[in-house]
């Protein structure tokens, strides 16, 4: 497995699934239950879509930003401050998020 990107642990856990890279609100409509979301830290509306996720990778923001706390409360593994995550992770690829260590790997 190859490490793709790393960040700061927010909510610990280990999960493998399909990456869903979010650039705008319409990308959120593609999110399926169990996907790992790769997204910027943004407004509270994203929380509604995080509900479906198995994990979240936030490209920016501190541990106390909206999506980090929402992910933590939802019990979803989460890392933040994963620089350029949306460029480094391909939409639809299978990844493993080890949020306890703050690392993301490409599966296969």
């Amino acid at each position: 497995m190859k490490e793709i990107v790393s960040g700061m642990s927010v909510s610990p856990g280990l999960v493998s699934s399909t990456a869903r890279v979010i650039y705008n609100m319409s990308d959120l409509e593609k999110v399926k239950y169990g996907d790992i979301l790769v997204l910027p830290n943004s407004d509270p509306i994203y929380a509604i879509y995080v509900m479906r996720a198995a994990g979240t990778i936030c490209e920016n923001g501190g541990r106390l930003s909206h999506l980090c706390i929402v992910s933590l409360e939802m019990g979803i593994p989460c890392i933040t401050n994963a620089k350029n995550a949306r460029e480094l992770i391909k939409d639809g690829e299978n990844i493993m998020l080890d949020s306890s260590e703050g690392k993301v790997y490409r599966n296969g």
Partner: protein, 340 residues
């Protein structure tokens, strides 16, 4: 605790809370617009506080009116910034910090600063008799998943309706040792602030959720009421839970029924934020801050509305472009250790 020690610990708590360099830019960067109402906010806060004292209202009464300690603790730095702007002396600023820390202390059983990672509001010695409540077994993992998803939505809702002043609407307290496990209590209040928003009626104003986790789950709550999770799975570590809606014992299904309305309100506020200009957002921020300090006005029997002067300042003012950018870690540290 000596006052100097309290001041130092207060500064350290700021470092811990602000050190994560949060990006407070939804719905607008607070730092770039606060100058348009901060001085008026502080003047009114101080006036009301002193007026109440002169009328013989005790700190206990004020603490009771605010209800939850975070609502005081998290307002301290705002008041001090305002005092600084208004050229109050360093001594007066320090005295106010101590006064407000002491006020916060009245609302808690444990330390104001949560040095042990716990926000202890209830007396742990009387916890069993204080609670005497029925807990439901989290015997089905799916229940735990649903409950935690709902907790996330509740958090998002509180941030949507009160922006960064969401201490007005929640307090997370614990961890309390119970049956050799850890009890965390999440209290949500002021969930229908009709003076601020025209919301879909969610049918309640208060929700309280008790979650009992195995002691292996490592959590802590800082003095800014932030929850941190270090190890273990919240979903798998949940043993029992209890839900109260407007003080009535309720089921998970009752809570699930409220969620679509919470989501609808989050979406509508989000749409408002996309369409509103910076003046409308600033006015809303000011209204939220006036709501935040409204217990003082309520005790005085005075209206807690924004003054014409504040509205005028916003109308004629400008965004402070120099404060739109996030601060660096070094700048945050300088700010903390230079401001009182």
């Amino acid at each position: 605790m000596a006052n100097e020690k309290k001041l130092l610990m207060y500064k350290q708590s700021l470092e811990s809370a602000w050190g994560y360099n949060d990006y407070n830019d939804w719905p607008i960067k607070y730092n770039s617009i606060m100058h348009l109402f901060l001085n008026n906010f502080t003047q009114e806060f101080l006036h009301d506080f002193i007026e109440l004292k002169s009328k013989g209202v005790t700190n206990q009464d004020i603490a009771k009116a605010f209800y939850n300690p975070s609502r005081i603790y998290r307002i301290i730095h705002t008041v001090i910034y305002g005092m600084k702007n208004l050229k109050y002396s360093a001594l007066e600023q320090k005295e106010m910090v101590i006064e407000l820390l002491d006020l916060t202390a009245l609302m808690k059983f444990g330390s104001v600063f949560n040095e042990n990672g716990k926000n202890i509001i209830l007396n742990p010695d009387n916890l069993e008799s204080t609670l005497k409540r029925t807990f439901l077994k989290a015997d089905d993992r799916e229940k735990s998943v649903k409950l935690h998803r709902l907790l996330g939505i509740l958090w998002a809702y509180t941030e949507a309706i009160f922006f960064r002043a969401h201490d007005v609407t929640k307090e997370i307290h614990g961890l309390y040792n119970i049956d050799d496990n850890s009890l965390l209590i999440r209290e949500y209040m002021n969930l229908m602030p009709n003076k601020l928003w025209n919301l879909v009626d969610i049918g309640c104003n208060k929700i309280k959720i008790f979650t009992k986790y195995t002691k292996e789950i490592e959590l802590n709550v800082d003095s800014y009421n932030h929850l941190f999770h270090h190890s273990g799975s919240l979903i798998d570590g949940l043993l029992e839970y209890r839900i109260e809606i407007d003080d009535n014992e309720s089921s998970l299904e009752d809570l699930i029924d409220i969620m679509p309305k919470l989501s609808e309100n989050i979406i509508s506020i989000n749409q408002w934020a996309k369409q509103a200009d910076w003046k409308e957002k600033t006015k809303k921020y000011a209204e939220i801050y006036w709501f935040r300090k409204s217990p003082l006005r309520d005790l005085l029997g005075m209206p807690a509305d924004l003054s014409e002067e504040v509205i005028g300042n916003i109308e004629l003012g400008q965004v402070d472009e120099s404060r739109v950018k996030n601060l660096t870690d070094k700048q945050i540290k300088y700010l903390i250790y230079s401001f009182i």
